[in-house]
């Protein structure tokens, strides 16, 4: 059985428990053991902390990596923001020996060391490379053939050490969605940011120029739902949708589904409806589109 240390990140483990529940069940179904380890702090998140102090951001991220390294397992990030932080830290410290030395001097004061043996993976890499699309397809008990989905990739998914390969993870995302049987509809602004990072600095501007524009184009595309892989995008598109509707006097009502929930639907897990009830925008109607679920 493949094993990974799992890094949930602060948002999923405290606010979006539906994503954590779905992820645990999906990986269990796919035969992947995920291990929680003691002592992880915030990754730290790459929107505020990285900008505020790059040095601290790198130091705390290296501490997290050193914890994973002790267990001699690769680390799988479920949150895309955490993935960016930990992946970029891995690369930064791999490329600069001086920087690694400087960070390790700090870690030494708390009895830790980062050697660079743990590899950081996005959960999409685990799904596509380690489990495989064909294997995922074998677990699809309820193909989502009638479901039209709009892909929202989110900015962190384009994180890559290789500038010529930034579409690797978004393409993995497409492949996994297609494996469920769902149809991807294009809407023209797939790469447009959800607005979450900008909203941390100028809330109204972000909602008007990013989030609202995205909803308008997705609505025109006729998609039944938006699929995301990032908890921050999930928050922005689901929890802020009502605010956008109120602000611009336009109704959207587009459910926002995390990829792990989409897999849970396709794998026909019982009580998927309970997870969908936790969404701010009503999402249970999607179960009717796919022909119900075991809980009903």
């Amino acid at each position: 059985m493949t094993e990974y240390i799992v890094f949930w990140g602060c948002l999923i483990s405290t606010r979006f428990l539906n994503i954590e529940v779905a992820s645990r069940k999906v990986f269990e179904e796919l035969g992947v053991k995920i291990n929680d380890v003691e002592g992880f702090s915030c990754c730290p998140e790459p929107v505020i902390s990285k900008v505020a102090d790059w040095d601290l951001w790198l130091t705390l991220a290296a501490r997290n990596l050193s914890i994973a390294e002790e267990k001699k397992q690769n680390l799988m990030a479920i949150c895309n923001g955490c993935y960016e932080t930990l992946h970029d830290t891995e690369l930064e410290l791999e490329h600069s020996h001086e920087l690694k030395q400087k960070i390790n001097e700090r870690l030494k004061s708390i009895g830790r060391e980062y050697q660079g043996t743990t590899h950081v993976l996005n959960f999409l890499e685990v799904l596509v490379n380690d489990i495989g699309i064909e294997e995922i397809k074998k677990h699809v008990k309820k193909p989502l053939n009638n479901l039209k989905v709009a892909m929202h990739y989110g900015c962190h998914l384009f994180t890559s050490g290789d500038p010529n390969n930034i579409w690797k993870l978004p393409r993995y995302f497409d492949e996994v969605v297609k494996a469920t049987g769902a149809t991807i509809v294009t809407y023209g602004s797939e790469r447009l940011c959800c607005g979450y990072p900008l909203s941390q600095y100028d809330y109204n501007f972000a909602l008007k120029n990013l989030t609202y524009q995205k909803f308008k184009m997705i609505k025109e595309s006729g998609a039944d739902c938006i699929v995301v892989t990032c908890p921050a995008c999930y928050y922005q598109l689901d929890f802020e949708q009502k605010t956008v509707e109120k602000m611009f006097g336009e109704e959207f009502g587009i459910p926002v589904i995390h990829l792990m929930e989409l897999l849970a639907m396709a794998f026909d897990f019982p009580n998927v409806g309970e997870l969908l009830k936790m969404h701010r925008v009503k999402a249970n109607a999607l179960l009717e589109i796919i022909g119900g679920s075991k809980s009903e």
């Binding site: 602060c10 929680d36 380890v37 915030c42 902390s49 102090d53 870690l107």
Partner: protein
């Protein structure tokens, strides 16, 4: 005549415990970081060696005043640098031992509102008579570098290692959803929180953002 190196040596010998840094920023220009409680002792030492005070500069960085006491010795400039937190807002006056400091301190008070304790004649000196009391033209609002919407996040990150706290209601929600109630995250482990505090202090992030460890939050709202 004493050389700059001799003077610095004397200051280090006599007040070493109060000195936290020494920089030669260019030829004949030195900055010595010293605790504000030792500023009178340092000035006395220099005066006794016939070293003259040129002027005092004050900089308001939002949270603290940085005072630089510039002394001249044999064409060398030695600046004693000290910080006065705005929430303290006072420092001992040099005017009684160095009459030349008298008007400079009054000017700093007029412009920044910083009090100099023990000043013999603390009247207004530079602002016009009709200038309103309690208004200081060069004093900035009490603000650090963290923008308002991020202050809670930064405080939580420093205190617990997580910007979103793992509260008892989170634990209850996790229990209801059959999830491991307490993930072994840093914020729930005393040892891990200690490690994070140590790293934050080592990087100097607490000072950079103006974090008050006793209060458990930023020094500004």
């Amino acid at each position: 005549m004493l050389l700059a190196d001799d003077i610095i040596e004397i200051l280090k010998q006599e007040l070493g415990d109060y000195i936290s840094g020494l920089q030669k920023i260019k030829e004949q220009k030195y900055i010595i970081d010293i605790e504000r409680s030792a500023i009178i002792k340092a000035a006395k030492l220099l005066v006794e060696k016939d070293i003259r005070l040129i002027t005092i500069s004050c900089v308001d960085d939002g949270l603290d005043f940085e005072l630089l006491y510039h002394f001249e010795a044999n064409k060398n400039i030695i600046s004693l640098r000290t910080r006065v937190p705005k929430d303290v807002n006072e420092i001992d006056s040099l005017a009684s031992i160095l009459p030349g400091a008298n008007w400079i301190e009054r000017e700093i008070h007029d412009l920044f509102g910083l009090k100099f304790n023990g000043h013999p004649d603390f009247r207004r000196i530079i602002l016009p008579y009709e200038w309103p009391e309690g208004k200081y033209p060069l004093r900035k609002p009490m603000e650090g570098i963290v923008p308002k919407p991020h202050r809670k996040v930064v405080s939580e990150l420093i205190m617990t290692g997580q910007p979103i706290p793992f509260t008892s209601s989170t634990i209850r929600r996790r229990e209801r959803m059959n999830l491991p109630p307490e993930l072994p995250v840093a914020s729930l482990k005393e040892e891990s929180v200690k490690e994070i505090h140590e790293l934050i202090k080592k990087v100097g992030y607490d000072k950079k953002v103006g974090f008050d460890w006793k209060k458990g939050g930023l020094r500004y709202k």
